[in-house]
Every structure is written in C-alpha cells, then in structure tokens.
C-alpha cells in the first residue's frame, strides 16, 4: 500500500512547494555593477650567476589574473531618489572586492637546486628558499566587503567582510567589521574596526598584509641536546610527511604564523571642514601563543612542547602591534599663495618609541610648487621579531622639492639624510635630481633628467633623456637613454672592495590604443654595463585595462 501512496504524496508535496515558490518568489533584480578583469602573462629569464662556466637562466612563467568588482545599490534602495534627480541618501548597499590568482610555473620557483652538503643534495628550490612560496601559486582576496551606507540619518557607514584599515603609513586587511559614524552638530567622525588581521594563513589570505613579514624564526623550535643547554634550533617536525608538494615547502612549518591575530582599532577625525583635517587613531593586534606544537612526548626527554621553547615560560598571548597615530594638515591662501602644512606622527606603544614622523609645507603659487619637509624614521617590527631588540639607528631626512607646471614642467629636489648613531654622531647621505619636460610642437615631447647622490650607501651620478612622439591620439612612441655611474659603498666604511661601474640603457616603447581601455604595448630595452656586457629585453603586452595618464 505504501508503495502506491508515496508517489502521490511526493507529487502533492512537490506541487505545494511549487505553488508556494511561485507565489512567494520575489521578482528578479538586476544590479549595476562595474567589473575590471586583468590577465597578465609574463615570460622572462633571470640569470643564475655562476663563477665557473656560463650563467644559467631561470625561466619565470607567471600568470596573474585579477578581478575587481563593484555592485552598486543592491536592492535598488536608492532608485527612487535617483529617478527624482536627488542626491543619494538613505540606506545604500554595495559590494566591492578584488580577487587575484597568481601562479608561476617556471624554473625560477619550480626548479631544483644542488646543495653542497657533505654530499651534493638536490632539492626543490622552494624547499631551499621557502619564501618563493609566495610566488608559486596563490588565490587571494585582497579585499571584499559589503558596505551599508546611509544608516542613521546618513551618518553611519558599515563595512562587513575583508576590509582595509589604514593609518597613513600602511594598509592592513581585516576580516571583520569597520564602521564610520559622523557625529551630529560636531564636525567629527568616529571610525572603528575589529576582526582578525589577514595573514597568509587566512582563508584566501595573503602574506602582503602580514604586519612586517618578519618573525620567521617562529618556523623553528629549540630542541634540547643530551645535556641541558646543548640543544639546537631545528625545523618544527610535527611528524611531517614529505610529500614533495611543489606548491609549498616540504621542510618548513610555522605554527605561529597560522595563529589568528585579533585586531581592534579606532580613530577620531575631523569632517566637513574646508581646508583642515586631523585624525587621532589607535590600533592593537595580538595573538595567542601556539602552545603545544606536537605530542608532549615527541622528544627523547620530558618536555612541555610549548612554543617558542620547551620550558613553558611562553605567555598565553603577545602583542604584535600597538600604535597610536596623529595626523593633521591644513590649506590656506594668502596673496595668491596656497599654503598647505602637514604633520604626521606615529607612536609604537609596543616599542615605546615614535617610529614615524614627518612635517612639511607645500607652497603653491600659480604653477610653482615648493615643498620643504622633514621626516623621521625608526624601524620597528612585528612583536614576535627579535629585530625589535637590536641596536637600531633612526634616520632624519630633510627634503626640498620644487616643481613648475606650465607649458613646460620642471622638477628639482634635494635630500639630506642623517643616520643617528648611538655614540651621538651622525653619518650623512644626500643627493639631488632635476628634470625638465617640454612639448615640442603638437606631437613631440622631450624630457631630460639628471641625478646625483652620495654618502652612506654609495654614489650615483647620471642622466636620462627621453623623447615622446604622439602623431595621433591613439599612438605613442617613446625612446629613452639612461646612463649612470655607480660607486658602491660597503657599510659606510668609506672604502669599498667593489668596483665602480657605469651602466647605460636604451629603451624604446610604443603604445597603440585600440579602443577605450584596450591597448597594445611593446618595449625593447638594451643594457650595457661592466657586469653583464650587452643584454636585451623585449616585452609585449596586450592591455585590456589601459588608462592613459592625463
């Protein structure tokens, strides 16, 4: 009996579902979207220098595909106002994302290296240099978030997803939420973000957002020897099975790099002020210690198996970054001169030092712009990095830039950098460059540049000349010649074991715009220098996202 009834019951249920769906389904919507896809293929060779015998050539065969997507006004919530010719207000929902696929399948990343150990050992280049893993293969979501704008009387904007946070010196990706609220009656906005910092180990993550890229020592652990204190740092084993994976290192494990890094930040900034802006912000990122990194009894002696060593003193968590920053800029006009002063400072609470600061003023009158500025830099690193505790000498830069924009364009700049030594003395480097860019008739343009710098790091002096011919608006032909003399400097000792050399380079390139956003580029380069003799490069590019500079 059941066998007779069931089909009818199924049919009835299917019919009910179909009716409900037909009655309840929403009408189809189509949304505005903007999409930009780029496909970039690269094929070139790099030298593997060899003292004996000819250099080898390593092939880079790299495929990169990017997809930028914006979907606007999801739900058509702004349609009524748009049709009434009114500015967008009220809730608007949009989506923005940027996805990248990157893969290098050439010898450069996928080749093999012979290591001269006790006996020659041949290994994948990726296993010898795990950092190459960043180029081998990746699928990365650089950002992707749903934005809800126009909430709370058009004062609140929310972003949910992989959002970007910026402190003026760097951008961090966060998997979480960012909010911005415009305070009524006071010209201020309050912004806050919270979530997990994006790392290489995040889903669709990328290492470029790692706080500074160091803390690589976390890929090894201290393994005690036969007697206390006689141990060594070794790669973390974790009973790893060598699978000869060609897309990742077989010999490395970095559990601390896989740990989630919660991050919170907030800032208060001015809003709706014409000619003045200021911001005060704070961000803190921390992470838990890995703790057990393998079976407790995996070693030949009792251990706790805790990161970063086996004595168990590691704290439960550690701060990776904690910063406070302030920035301000203004713009005022007097006697036809635009005066735009600015000052920025960032303080690392983790290091108890000011790590970045600058101040300057941009003066503009007509086409003339003059900009003196002062910049201070104290290198700081991820909270797990031992470079933080090293003796570090900060630098101060004095810069002066000038530019004239008119029928001709002139630029000139000079810089002077002081390296502040612990002893109270300073070393100095400095330099200057200048150039002039001038149209010659309607189709030709010429540019000449010169460069000189000296002091710590070495000396360079050189010049370049460029001519640009654009007979029709869709076609460019450029030629450039560069010559540069270099005198290397080793560690500021004033002398160098390295030879001086002169390099010269000639570049010819052409761009043909086929239609809006579509162009073909061809570049040919010939270089000569004391090391390489004569070498050539030829690059062809089919560009589906061409945007000529104005």
């Amino acid at each position: 009996m059941r066998g007779d009834v069931l089909p009818c019951a199924r049919m009835f249920r299917a019919w009910v579902v179909a009716v409900v769906l037909a009655a309840g389904v929403a009408p189809a919507h189509a949304y505005e979207f903007w999409l930009r896809a780029q496909t970039i293929g690269q094929a070139y060779q790099l030298r593997d220098y060899r003292l004996i015998g000819p250099d080898l050539f390593l092939g880079v065969r790299r495929y990169t595909q990017t997809l930028a997507l914006r979907i606007w006004d999801v739900g058509d919530l702004a349609a009524t106002r748009r049709e009434a010719h009114l500015p967008d207000r009220g809730l608007r929902i949009s989506w923005q994302s940027y996805l990248r696929i990157d893969h290098d399948f050439g010898d450069y990343t996928s080749g093999r290296v012979t290591l001269q150990l006790t006996a020659p050992v041949r290994r994948d280049a990726l296993d010898v240099t795990p950092e190459l893993g960043e180029s081998v293969a990746s699928l990365e979501l650089l950002y992707g978030y749903l934005e809800l704008a126009g909430l709370v009387d058009d004062r609140l904007t929310l972003q949910i997803g992989r959002v970007l946070a910026d402190d003026g010196w760097g951008t961090t990706g966060i998997d979480g939420v960012a909010a911005r609220f415009e305070v009524p009656s006071v010209p201020l906005t309050v912004a806050a973000s919270a979530g997990l910092a994006v790392r290489a180990s995040s889903p669709l993550g990328l290492s470029a957002y790692e706080l500074d890229g160091t803390a690589g020592a976390a890929c090894q652990e201290y393994v005690e020897g036969p007697t206390p204190g006689s141990g060594t740092w070794r790669l973390i084993d974790r009973n790893r099975i060598i699978t000869n994976n060609r897309l990742a290192s077989d010999y490395e494990s970095c559990p601390q790099r896989d740990v989630a890094q919660p991050t919170v930040g907030f800032s208060v900034a001015t809003a709706r002020l014409h000619g003045f802006g200021a911001e005060l912000g704070y961000r803190r990122t921390w992470s838990g210690s890995v703790g057990l990194i393998g079976p407790v009894d995996r070693l030949t002696y009792p251990d706790l198996g805790l990161y970063p060593n086996d004595f168990g003193q590691a704290p439960g968590s550690g701060v990776d970054e904690e910063r406070l920053w302030a920035r301000a800029h203004g713009e005022l006009r007097a006697q036809g001169v635009t005066i735009a002063p600015y000052a920025d400072v960032r303080y690392s609470l983790l290091h108890a030092v000011i790590d970045r600061a600058d101040a300057g003023v941009r003066l503009q009158r007509g086409g003339h712009t003059l900009e003196p500025s002062l910049e201070y830099f104290y290198p700081t690193f991820d909270g797990d990095s031992i470079f933080n505790v090293f003796s570090i000498e900060p630098t101060t830069d004095l810069r002066l830039g000038y530019q004239f924009t008119g029928p001709i364009v002139i630029h000139a700049s000079g810089w002077l950098r002081a390296y502040h030594h612990e002893t109270g003395t300073s070393s100095v480097a400095g330099g200057a460059d200048a150039g002039i860019d001038r149209p010659l008739g309607r189709q030709w343009r010429a540019r000449v540049d010169a460069l000189w710098d000296d002091g710590y790091g070495g000396r360079r002096i050189g010049a370049s000349a460029e001519a640009n011919w654009r007979p029709v608006p869709t076609f460019w032909l450029r030629g450039r010649a560069i010559t540069l003399g270099v005198a290397p400097d080793d560690g500021g000792q004033g002398t160098s074991a390295r030879p001086r050399y002169v390099t010269s380079s000639s570049v010819f390139s052409t761009t043909w715009r086929l239609s809006d956003g579509v162009a073909v580029h061809a570049i040919f380069e010939a270089d000569y220098d004391a090391i390489h003799d004569l070498q050539y490069r030829a690059i062809g590019m089919f560009d589906l996202a061409f945007a000529p500079e104005p």
């Binding site: 903007w34 006004d73 940027y98 240099t129 904007t157 160091t214 201290y222 009158r365 003796s391 104005p550």
Partner: protein, 402 residues
C-alpha cells in the same frame, strides 16, 4: 668627513630655498588660482559669437527670469537655459526680413547688434555651449539668489564660464561636499558609483580646492601626502584595486623603476629609501631573487663563493672576534635591509644568550632598564624567549652575573 662635505652645502640649500620663497612671493606670474579656477573639463570651451550686456539689461530692471524662465524649473545641467530669439522679441521687435531695421524708441533690433559677424544672406554663427558633465537642479536652488552662484552681473557684458559657479563656490554652502561620499551628488557617476573622469574634451582631475588632492605631473609616483590626507577623496574616482594593484603588487608597473634598475637598486636598498616595503614584502621578495640568482647563502652560491668583489657581503662582514665585523654598523643603520633576506635564526647563531651561542648582545647600550626593553617585555615576551631560556634572564631588571 662625508658629513662635513654635506653639511657645508646646507647653508647653500637653505639660501636657495629662501630665494625660491621670495621669488614665489614676489612673482609676477599671473595668479592662476586653482582653488577658484573654472575647470575646462567641467565647463568645456564655449563659442559665443554674440554681443550682449547683462549690465545694460539689469540696469533697466529686467529680472533674470524674464530671459531665463526655465532657470527656476530646470532639473538638469544639460538643459539649455539661454534665451531664444522668441524671448528677445518680447522687447526687441526683430524682423528677420529686415536685418538692418532700426525702430525708433525701441531697443535695437538689427541683426548686427547681437550677431557681430552677421553677413546678410549667410547663416548666423552658431552658439556652442557644451553642457557641463554635472548633475545640477536649478529648481532645488530657487531659494538662493542668482547672484549667490553667478556673481554680480551688473558690471558684466557677455556672461561666460566666468559667471558659472566653481566647486569652491558650491562648497561654501554644501560643506558635506568635501566628503568623498558626496562627490557623486554633483559629478556624474559611472556604473559602480565611481566618478566619470574621461570625457571627449579631456580627463577630469582634481585641482587644488581645499581637498589637498591636486594631481600634478608624475602624481602616480609621488602621491604619499595626498593619499595620507584625512578625508582624502581618492576612492571617489579610483577603485581601491588601483592602489592595491601596485602596493600589494604581483606585477611591476612598467614605468616605475628606471631601466636596468636590477643592477643599480643596491644603493637604494642599502639606504632604505625609497621605502621598498611600500610595494615589496620585506622578507620574501628580496630573498627569493637573491637565492635563486646565486647571490645568497642558501641556494647555489658559487658565483660569489670565492670572489670578494662580487660577493654580496664583503670580506670581514661577520667576524666572530677581532676584525672589522662590518655587518654590525650596517645592521644598526638599516636593519630592515638585513631582514629583507635573513631570517632571525641567522642572527641567533651569534646573538643569543643560549648555552653554546656566542652571547654577542645585539641590544643597544643601556638596554636593561630602558623604557623600550620594558615595553617590549610587557607587550610580547615571546621574542625574549627566542634567546633567553633561563627564567632569571627574563625581564629588564636583572643584573648580569659578574
């Protein structure tokens, strides 16, 4: 020695700077006021082969709406609000059959009065007014007087783009307009919400307008300060992917580094400026190439193994004991360049307090008890444990045994 050589140039540089400043202040160069200038892209070139005097008409008490009646109802910037001949006929008894007609007691009616190039029998020169690529609703601004946007026309003959409001004028009332969310209130937007910047008559770029976002030549390579501005309006026109494509780039922009930069980049890298890490990740970009090309320590190193002039580090670079130990000075000056290739374990071979290591302290003088030591220890003791395994060595208050 080097320092002295540079320091003697400082007064000269300062003097040149002062001269430039004075030169600018006293410059007789025409004041091309970008803040209040009329953008040729927003207001494209007009052709007005007309003779007309607003001053005369206003002096007679003619209201603006008499000639521009649609101005009170127009809802779009593409509407043509110029008076047609029909409107002129309300006062000027024009007779096309009599182009040189003079009517006693009436305003001028001869064709040549308004059309200076008029030739009898030839077509009248056309007026060309390309609509501005803007959204503008005149009817929404009815409460404001015409003068508040178009200025005082009582002294103006023929009105041109000079009588159209600049962006600075709009922002006087529309203070929210400085927020990039509101750019599209006036500017045309593309699909996806970005501002349309490409027009047949040119590309729309920001001028100085109190927003700190002027685009000068070579802006692509020098936009740090503009991008850092509080409330920068970059993303009104640019999709964020344009920033990320370079700064987190997988592909080098063709025109950023000069030719053969591979050979000459060492000087920049050693100095640490420009900030390589703005686009290249610190600890993987450099080492990948150096190791694969034989200029490192892990891979094939035969190129530099026995040729001091070509080795990446010169002789005497890291000497345990007596010797120049050149790396110490370099590391102090630009530890970021060390970190671009070396993992921390390379340093720990010598710089560690663990038994068996050289115990070469990398800390600066006065480290113990310093605010930096205490802050780092408080914030993340994991880094201390990399070298100090004995409990009594941890923290910043202990005293080294004699």
């Amino acid at each position: 020695m080097v320092a002295r050589r540079f320091l003697r140039w400082v007064p000269i540089v300062v003097a040149i700077a002062i001269m430039f400043g004075l030169g600018l202040a006293g410059s007789v160069v025409a004041d091309q006021d970008h803040a209040t200038a009329w953008s040729p892209i927003v207001y494209p070139m007009q052709r007005l082969p007309l003779v007309f005097s607003h001053a005369t008409h206003l002096a007679r008490g003619t209201p603006c709406a008499a000639c521009h009646p649609a101005a009170t109802t127009s809802r779009s910037a593409v509407d043509n609000l110029l008076p047609t001949e029909l409107l002129c006929r309300a006062c000027h008894p024009i007779d096309r059959e009599k182009p040189e007609l003079i009517v006693q007691g009436a305003p001028p009616v001869a064709c040549l009065t308004c059309h200076p190039d008029y030739v009898n029998g030839a077509p009248v020169a056309r007026v060309y007014l390309t609509p501005p690529p803007l959204k503008f609703d005149h009817s929404a601004h009815r409460a404001a007087t015409c003068e508040s946007c178009h200025g005082d026309l009582r002294t103006v003959a023929l009105a041109t783009t000079q009588q159209l409001p600049t962006m600075a004028a709009c922002l006087r009332c529309h203070t929210k307009g400085v927020d990039e969310r509101h750019c599209a209130d006036c500017h045309l937007a593309k699909l996806g919400g970005l501002i349309e910047t490409s027009f047949p008559h040119g590309v729309l770029v920001p001028a100085h307008g109190g927003l700190g976002d002027a685009h000068g030549p070579d802006f692509k390579n020098h936009h740090t300060q503009e991008a850092r501005q509080v409330g920068a309006t970059c993303t009104a026109c640019h999709d964020r992917s344009e920033c990320v494509a370079c700064h987190q780039g997988a592909v080098k922009p063709v025109d950023f580094h000069p030719g053969n930069y591979l050979l000459t980049h060492a000087v920049d890298a050693r100095r640490g400026k420009p900030d390589c890490s703005a686009c290249h990740r610190a600890q993987s970009f450099c080492v990948g190439c150096h190791e694969r090309e034989g200029l490192g320590t892990r891979g094939d190193t035969q190129w530099s193994a026995s040729d001091p002039s070509r080795a990446f580090h010169p002789p005497g670079w890291a000497t345990a004991g007596t010797g120049p130990n050149l790396h110490a000075r370099e590391a102090r000056r630009n530890v970021a360049s060390c970190a671009s290739c070396h993992r921390e374990n390379d340093c720990l071979t010598c710089h560690s307090a663990q038994p068996g290591a050289l115990h070469a302290s990398p800390h600066p003088a006065g480290w113990r008890g310093s605010a930096r030591c205490k802050a780092l220890d408080r914030g993340n003791r994991r880094m201390c444990l990399r070298c100090h395994i004995a409990q009594d060595e941890l923290g910043c208050d202990w005293t080294a045994p004699p």
